[in-house]
């Protein structure tokens, strides 16, 4: 069996490929997009992949919901625990998204933009203005000056030149 077959055709494994793909899409969104809201969307996709992973874990082929039915025994249940856990994860996701969006609203109000590179520029300028109030002893503004050599006297007259 080729690797591809092993990975794709083997029953049930495809779902993990889907999850990984989803996760990578999400991470890519966070890494590559500059717009803050798009980053949040990437984050949501990433979280969904994690949620799907749990759902996939709990699913049992042919299993039903885990409800005790009278008179029936040996029923095949899906594992409800991961699914229940995901309720919490979804709550967390909503809270995160809501908070992130609230922040973006605030950022838009404060800076008038949501592009991260622009925001970085603005913030750097703010940092520099602050730093300008506080010149650093080891790092004077302007050109980095040369290291001062320890004073060495070499010879007096003919022998050599003082430094």
């Amino acid at each position: 069996m080729s690797l591809l077959e092993a990975l794709l055709v083997q029953r049930g494994l495809w779902v993990y490929w889907a999850i990984i793909t989803l996760m990578m899409i999400g991470l890519y969104g966070v890494i590559a997009r500059d717009h803050l809201v798009k980053k949040v969307m990437g984050l949501n996709v990433f979280q969904s992949s994690a949620i799907l992973l749990y759902v996939a874990i709990g699913k049992v082929r042919g299993g039903t919901a885990a409800i005790l039915l009278e008179g029936e025994e040996n029923v095949l249940y899906s594992n409800p625990l991961p699914h229940v856990l995901m309720l919490t994860a979804i709550v967390v996701g909503i809270a995160t998204t809501a908070l992130a969006l609230a922040l973006t609203v605030r950022i838009q109000e404060a800076y008038g933009t949501l592009e991260e590179d622009e925001l970085a520029r603005l913030r750097v300028r703010e940092d520099e203005e602050e730093a300008a109030l506080d010149p650093h002893p080891f790092d004077p503004p302007g050109e980095p000056e040369d290291v001062e050599y320890p004073e060495v006297k070499v010879g007096g007259g003919a022998g050599g030149a003082g430094v």
């Binding site: 809270a95 809501a98 838009q108 109000e109």
Partner: protein
């Protein structure tokens, strides 16, 4: 430095929405049923799939739908911002209160058997789920208020209280 723009989200789309007769009539018809269904999911949670979280979301969905069609102010006539905030706290406290009660009754935290030997589990679940439902519904509503009524000097979203 920040260039102050106008309102971030303007009122235009909801205004237009109010003129959609079909949507308005449909929405008005659907809202009570969604609310009822929410209650069903809430109370049926004892026996089958469902529970406070799903119910809360459904409840909030009804309010959000209504708000989208008729404006946030109309929903706020029914459930003012302050009420929604109080409900969040009440919901969480209901949940925690059951736990503390069991604690004070001498059992473990959230050990429902302490409430009543026979029906302890029932009552416990019922109360806890009610707490969750109230908290979730109120939080979602509050989130909708926060974003739905955005204008530059609005209150910050209370997203961090969505737990």
């Amino acid at each position: 430095m920040a260039d102050e723009r106008g309102p971030v989200v303007d009122d235009e789309p909801p205004m237009r929405m109010r003129e959609q007769i079909v949507l308005q009539v449909g929405g008005r018809l659907l809202t009570p049923f969604i609310l009822l269904f929410a209650l069903y999911v809430q109370f049926h949670g004892d026996f089958g799939p469902g529970g406070g979280f799903q119910a809360g979301v459904l409840f909030a969905a009804a309010l959000v739908l209504f708000g989208l069609l008729f404006g946030v102010d109309r929903v706020q006539q029914v459930i003012p911002v302050s009420v929604s905030e109080v409900m969040i706290a009440v919901g969480v406290l209901l949940y925690a209160g059951v736990g503390v009660t069991t604690l004070l009754l001498g059992s473990a935290f959230l050990d429902y058997d302490a409430l009543s030997a026979e029906h302890g589990q029932h009552w416990g679940i019922l109360l806890v789920e009610a707490g969750v439902g109230i908290a979730v519904a109120a939080t979602m509503t509050r989130l909708y208020y926060a974003f739905g009524s955005l204008h530059p000097d609005s209150e910050p979203a209370a997203g961090e209280h969505g737990e």
